[in-house]
């Protein structure tokens, strides 16, 4: 799956509404102590595909 702005928006919605829940699932895929900082780093540095669609 490619990372698009929609992917980021979906995770952003969860981070805003329930950061504890996002943290729980982050730790379920990787239990290392620095998972949060790595996630933030990846999120901040993620290059996403443009939202444009040929359907629109």
């Amino acid at each position: 799956m490619i990372v698009t702005s929609q992917n980021m928006n979906i995770l952003a919605r969860l981070a805003l509404e329930n950061p504890d829940l996002l943290l729980h699932f982050l730790r379920s895929v990787d239990n290392s102590p620095d998972i949060v900082s790595r996630f933030v780093d990846k999120w901040a540095g993620q290059k996403v595909s443009p939202r444009q669609s040929s359907f629109h």
Partner: protein
Amino acid sequence: MGLFPKAISCLQLGSENLKKVLRIIESYIILDPVGIMRRYADKLFSGFAALTVDLKPEASRTVMNVVEVAIQGCPLDLYFATFVESGLFFKILAAVMDDDVCPPSKSYGLGVSDGVGEYDCDFAEYEYPSSVGS
């Protein structure tokens, strides 16, 4: 309303049909996001989770757009359990985190059934904070 479950069933069809089906699904969600998600969130997310295997970037972008529309119109507690149980949430999370973050035993995107229900126990074990669902 009877068309919607049929549209979900059509998600597995070819690419040209997929565009039309996604438009139909998106239109239904825009018209009644809470009603649609309350009745069909499980089938919808399961269909999308199966669909995200080997999708081309354009199609993946369109699918994620529909998912985003769906969750934007609903409260978190209405859809999140099925979102996780379908495996779609973990596919999105894994895409952002990259494969090297995920343990080798937890594969993503290798088959239709991969990831679906794989993390049910994680969700079941989570205790919601008191603010969730209120």
